[in-house]
Symmetry: C2
């Protein structure tokens, strides 16, 4: 079975996804609070997602991508995943 | 703020992701149980993910993609997300 290296570093993967979200958010000039509100996610939770401190669910990835105006797959590709 | 249509149908999104997983699993001749074991996910939970009955976490998406030998972003792109 093929094993891909990203599996070995779950915390790093979560941090990379959070960084990808933060970079796109800043690129469109949105505050973390505004992104959380637009995505319908608790503000504290959104901060933890951006810092890679939460194992974010796929529906929250979809909500965040929608609020950022990008595709969910873009966020993963930005993260090298 | 740009709104993308997939947001309007969370259950449909989960079903599409589950179907993408099932299609890739079958394409490589893996049983659902073998995929669950390879991904380190409970077998019953893996079945619910394939049926779109669970809001799967991103780390489980990463584990499933690794077991399928594809990229996590491929699973989302297969799902049109």
């Amino acid at each position: 079975m093929a094993r891909i290296s990203f599996l070995s570093d779950a915390n790093g993967d979560l941090r990379r996804i959070g960084s990808a979200i933060r970079e796109r958010r800043k690129a469109i000039g949105l505050s973390q609070e505004a992104l959380a509100d637009a995505a319908g996610i608790d503000r504290a939770h959104a901060g933890k997602i951006e810092r890679g401190e939460r194992n974010v669910t796929i529906l929250n990835i979809l909500r965040i991508a929608s609020a950022l105006g990008c595709r969910p797959s873009d966020l993963l590709m930005d993260s090298g995943l």
